[in-house]
Amino acid sequence: MDLTTESRRQAAAQLQNEVSFWYYSFCKLVKSQQEYARTLCRWIQLTDCLVTDKRQSRCASAVRTLSEKWQRGLEKLPDKVASDAIKHFLSAVESIIRQQAEEHNQTEALKKRVDTEKTEHLNSVQLVFMPLRPLTATINRKKFLVPRRTRQTDFVPGIVEQIRSSQTSTSLVPNLSWKAPTSKYCSPSISPQILPRLGSRNGSIKSPSNKFHFCSYLLLFEYLNHRLNKTCHGTRFIHEEQFETQHTVAAEVILMNEVESKAAQLGIDLSIDFNSIQLPLGENFGIVSDDEDVYHEDQLEFDSGFGNVIVVDNLPVVPREKFDKLEGVLKKIYSQIGVIKEDGLWMPTDPETKKTFGYCFIEYNTPQEAELAKEKTNGYKLDRSHIFVVNMFDDFDRYLRVPDEWAPPEVKPYTPGENLQKWLTDEKSRDQFVIRAGTDTEVLWNDARQSKTELVYRRTFWTESFVQWSPLGTYLATVHRQGAAVWGGATTFNRLMRYAHPQVKHIDFSPAEKFLVTYSSHEPSNPRDANRVVINIFDVRTSKVMRDFKGSADEFSVGGAGGVAGVSWPVFRLRMLWTSVGHQQTPFLHFFPELGGGNQPARVSLVQIPSKTELRQKNLFSVSDCKMYWQSNGDYLAVKADRYTKTKKSTYTGFELFRIKERDVPVEVLELDNKSDKIVAFAWEPKGHRFAVIHGDNPRPDINFYSMRTAHNTGRVSNLSTLKGKQANALFCWNSLTLMSLKPWRLLNFMATDIEWDPTGRYVATAVTSVHEMENGFNIWSFNGKLLYRIPKDHFFQFLWRPRPPSFLSPEKEEEIARNLKKYSKKYEAEDQDVSMLLSEQDREKRRLLKEEWEKWVSGWKRTHEEEKSERQKLRDGEASDEEEEYEAKEVEVEELLDVSEEVLPFED
């Protein structure tokens, strides 16, 4: 039988189109002709009766008869017959097309069937015969590769090759052979991970150094299948396939013949090049592709992963009767920790002895729960001989890769590092800062003299949440999902070190940049529990974990023995903890709310961390709220206490000021002159003894400055000064140099969300971050409030000056500089002068060029305008005034007669 080719079908379709178009055009033509004749006829009739003149009427009637004749002629046309004929032709063409389509469908279905059978056949042939006759299998594969199923066919030879490469003995083949076809139902995303393990498992079993039952790998795989089958309800298929494939082992060759004979029977030449057959896009001719449901399941699997599966080892090996009991016990233990997925506990049994293997798999809802379960129950004593060994499913891969032989670690040759403090030696003594806007993070020089920035380094997606400078400015830390990283270098930024800490939330450096503390807290699965806190302390230069802590927030604050048993929460230095604790807001200064209806007072107590001794406590009466402010050095602490008035209707605020560094921690009470004033903000002078309070209810509150010492007596709080009625609603970090100049900033840039002084106190940056929709960007001001430049950036997130380490100069040297300040400043002034000269020169040049360029445009436009003048006049009907007339202000005097009145004046003599 000769098959209809694609081109024939196309030709038929085209013919059908053409014929139908012909039919419609013909009908339309006849119809409009008739219409026209009729209208013409009618019109002539109408005009005919209007005319009275005889001669004309005769002439007209001649036209009339003619038109009537034409109309009749048209109506008599055998158009009906013609159109019917075309219609018949059309229907004939249509029937041909239908037949063709049917035929096509049939062929497709047949092809499909042959195709599937071939692939199945191929799979089994390859699996079984590959070790014996790999050559044939490869040839066969080449011959039968079908484009629509490439994914699967490619995959299966992959397995075969794995098996071959691992030199598995033939006795294992039947064991595996049923798995390969079922792998169709497990996702390719899993299989490539699992199968290499299968391949290398020979080595693993032999190595006694591994402490896990690696012979369980088959069962792991089985477990996967179990899980997948559950999800895709594909158990039935598995059984069928299993059955079928077992038989195919023997019947391989016969099947092949069968396919061929079947093909011959159906009249299909097996040498068809299947690549040449292409279905139209988006059309499957009603044949459901069995690839699709597999594909669908891939997606499902891909989302979940195996991070939430743990493997519990060292379980008792129990016979079938006790299976349920053990399962119940396990469920009880593990459901306390987190929510086990439905059917998430699976304990494989030996099919021969019907006993368990002594391990099980547990699947949690989240990886966090799984991790927690691993931590909590690893080493759990069920009884004396059964101590649980719990591992993450995903970790097995890692354990497998442990080499059998110990290899001495490679000694890296020493490479001298870059000078990480190169930026301090900038010729122009500029400062750097980092900004985050959109996806970009940039480090820039603040070139205030030229009123611009200069890019140092830019990187897209540098960090996943924020960036942070180390306290001395040596490193820039970025935060990622996997952990933190620090960057630095002489001229650019290279990654110096990475610190692994999944889902890290906060980081902080120790003041001398030696250690990095990373912090993350995880929502507990049980809402009653406190958040789980993970803290790691790394050595910055080696990225070694020096200390870590895992436990609840409560445990952390009291220094409980979380993490490794027997090691109490370590403290390097008290200073270290100030920073870390202050950052994470974990209360180590406790505030106990009032109990017992006010009889028992609220208490603020200061506890020293490593020793847990209470240093100082203070009782507070009728307190509604309490807030604490630490001075940056930890010298002072202010506790803001909101107290109820006697009527309990309103509150007033007082401050308890603790002097931490003095003996017995003396406490002073400070109350504002107007007790009912609302406190807007409170801030300590960094590293100083002064603080400021903004208070007041109206939009222009007062600012009070206090000092913790007076000139004569260091133990008294004194009021330094008061600023009345300033518009401010937040206090920003001040620089001790410019303590008093903080007021105008809010006025200058009232949208500003962040204010940052540069480390030298020369410039201040105000930034509008993306909390506002508009005007994102930052402004750089000089210390005396002059706007230097403005950089708008959309989606602006963060602005941070690069801190400077304390001066390397000795105090004597500093004093000397201070004495000879004039001499030094002269030099800098001269430099400034030069720069501004240069700048204005450049500016003038730039402007001149711009003007010239513009003039060129304008002259070009003028010329074309002149050229088009005549045409424009023509368009305007010759109106001459093409050019806009010059406007001139003419004074036109207009006399208006406003009022006329007659008055009779008495004539006086």
Partner: protein, 300 residues
Amino acid sequence: MRPILMKGHERPLTFLKYNRDGDILFSCAKDHTPTVWFADNGERLGTYRGHNGAVWTCDVSRDSMRLLTGSADQTAKLWNVQTGTQLYTFNFGSPARSVEFSVGDKLASEESVLVIKGPQGRINRAVWGPLNRTIISAGEDAVIRIWDSETGKLLRESDKESGHKKTITSLTKAADGSHFLTGSLDKSAKLLDTRTLTLIKTYGTERPANAVAMSPLLDHVVLGGGHDASAVTTTDHRAGKFEAKFYDKILKEEIGGVKGHFGPINALAFNPDGKSFSSGGEDGYVRLHHSDPDYFNIKI
């Protein structure tokens, strides 16, 4: 000088147009009545009643006799400027966003002598090119296109790289039609050559540019805009940036700003003599500014 506040519209302003002599000013708003004012003192002369939808645009003939308005009621109407009578109504299948008399006042843009179809999204502005040979369109897809006005063929397209990134909201031609200025929601305005569509200048600003105008007298451009109207109530009027900002046309530097509106500026127009300009805002006011003498001596 103190601006003159003209309150005649109840809804946000959409368009402002001076006549050629610069003595009268036409304003269109989302209420349905275009209004005509004396451009000198802001006195209201009259209104044109008849539209049944927001009026998006208008144009006045060279001799100030005919007014053409385009409205969201899918019509454009031709009016007698003096009497306010409707002379003709053009019907369209969609709201008329832009109308303009051609050179010689015989054809109006957006007229069904020729229908141009093609671009995706709304066309916000369509104006005549030099000698009526081309039509320039700009709209939501942020692409400026030049069409042949005879055949309707697409002649040029602004390139994506240097062009606007968001909806183009306004387009004004220079007095001689040689170049034009576009304002876009991407917070920038661009100056382009009418014939070649070459990008000449870009003026950056901090807020969406809803309206743009070019001074016919000095090398100044004015950009008006502000926060999205829907967010106006949530922001301080200072934060909304409802200023009309003056820029130097050549140096692209900001000269100054004119504050006053308490909503985004939707329309800007310069008096053809260059000595006054008016702005219309989302707040429904038209503000007529006569420039101080200082303005003409600004040096940067």
